[in-house]
């Protein structure tokens, strides 16, 4: 009998786990839908910023702007986007593996690496690294980041680049390809890159207020902002999607486990009954 009680308890606890993972799966699914929707909104903004920059490049040398100037790379800064919490499949480990690989490369070529961590997982990893500066650790931006959240990060990035404290800024994030495919990726943010793709009508008659330089400053800021924003939102969508998948397979595994345990439980119960019957009939035989 002892065996069946133990099995019964285990079935109960696995059932509880299954309920939890199922709930987490549903939560992640609804968050993913929202994040995906959100990620698409930024597209119009990027296109508008790009088209403005294209037209500006016709009348001014965009590549002379401090944020566009390329330098010899002595220090490289990584902005690493991870989640605060685990249980999201390989979401965090993919990004962190990419970071580790990049740092090893940097070490080989004598480039100093620095890290800005977004999300607790990246911060935890970066703190353990030797010889790598953790410049700042942001605590993640929740499920609905606003432009106010990214602004301080962006301004400190631009400042560091303009002051020549860093010579290259990479964003390590997870690209959201589809519900099933998400890829950890590195995007180079600074120096800002820009190529005029098409010839545009002359801007000779356009008035600039207050000046071309200030307009360029503002447009550049917006271009960087939208890139960072996009990376952040795609990571968010990926996180939820990977968490959903992880929780889905956890739920499936729990179901399998419950099936196995139920089978074992039934066998144990049946054999206990058979044994009891044998004992009773054996006892009755002896009484005769």
């Amino acid at each position: 009998m002892a065996n069946t009680i133990v099995l019964k308890r285990r079935i109960g606890s696995v059932k509880n786990t299954k309920q939890i993972t199922k709930a987490m799966e549903l939560v992640a699914a609804s968050k993913m839908r929202r994040a995906q929707e959100f990620a698409q909104h930024g597209r119009a903004y990027r296109e508008a910023a790009y088209s403005l920059l294209t037209r500006l490049s016709a009348i001014t040398e965009v590549n002379d702007h401090p944020l566009f100037v390329k330098r010899n790379i002595k220090t490289r800064l990584y902005v690493v986007i991870t989640s605060n919490r685990g249980l999201a499949g390989s979401y965090n480990s993919n990004v962190i593996r990419l970071l580790a690989k990049a740092i090893i490369e940097d070490n080989k070529s004598g480039v100093k690496s620095q890290i800005i961590a977004i999300g607790k997982q990246a911060a935890q990893f970066a703190r353990r690294l030797e010889g790598v500066d953790l410049v700042a650790a942001y605590d993640g931006y929740g499920d609905q980041p606003t432009s106010n959240d990214v602004r301080p990060l962006l301004s400190s990035l631009s400042e560091m680049y303009a002051d020549k404290k860093v010579d290259d800024v990479q964003i390590l994030y997870t690209e959201f390809k589809s519900n099933i495919v998400q890829i950890a990726k590195s995007l180079s943010l600074l120096p800002a890159r820009f190529e005029a793709t098409e010839n545009v009508d002359s801007l000779a008659q356009v008035t600039f207020e207050p000046s071309v330089a200030e307009v360029l400053d503002s447009v550049t800021e917006r271009l960087l902002e939208v890139q960072l924003w996009q990376a952040l939102l795609e990571s968010l969508a990926s996180e939820h999607s990977m968490r959903m998948m992880a929780m889905k397979s956890a739920t499936d595994n729990a179901s399998d486990l419950i099936d196995d345990l139920t089978l074992a439980f039934n066998t144990a119960r049946q054999s206990a009954i058979t044994q009891e019957l044998a004992e009773i009939t054996g006892g009755a035989e002896a009484m005769k």
Binding site: F38, H41, G42, A44, Y45, A48, A49, L52, L56, T146, S147, N148, R151, P152, S155, S156, L203, Q205, V206, T207, F208, E209, P210, E214, V215, D217, S218, V219, R222, E225, V226, W229
Partner: protein, 140 residues
């Protein structure tokens, strides 16, 4: 009529033909009407006002709170690129007031330059939101 496109990080907030748009720029407020000369300018935090028809009175102007961006006028298309724009209807005045007070508190407590700038940014943003909410209330 002039086509007015309000593009924010959260998507396109406005995309219709209107009569007049009032915009806050670094050099002061400007009004853009059909036939405006080509212009590229920098917007600051402030209030964007939209008059849909020439016959609309002042109390029918739609207001948006914004925190700065780029303005482009060309061929009767006005494109405004801002981080965010809150419609007056979406702003809760009490909440904005609370956030405004909180930002002031943050500014007083700020220890370094970064948090000071952050607090100032919040103050600017919330004061514009309050202003927009106030404009709406006055016209009611």
């Amino acid at each position: 009529m002039i086509r007015f496109e309000l593009v924010t990080l959260g998507g396109v907030k406005f995309g219709e033909d209107v009569y007049e748009v009032l915009l806050p720029t670094l050099e002061g407020q400007i009004g853009v009407m059909p036939g405006h000369m080509p212009l590229i300018s920098v917007a600051t935090h402030g209030v964007i006002g939209v008059r849909r028809k020439a016959s609309d009175k002042d109390d029918m102007i739609e207001y948006y709170a914004t925190n700065g961006g780029v303005i482009e006028v060309a061929n009767d298309v006005l494109r405004v690129l801002v981080d965010e724009a809150d419609n007056a209807d979406d702003i809760n005045e009490q909440e904005a007031q609370k956030a405004f007070d909180y930002a002031h508190k943050l500014k007083l407590e700020a220890k370094d330059q970064v948090s000071l700038e952050h607090a100032q940014g919040m103050i600017d943003r919330q004061s514009v939101r309050l202003q927009v909410a106030g404009l709406k209330r006055r016209h009611r």
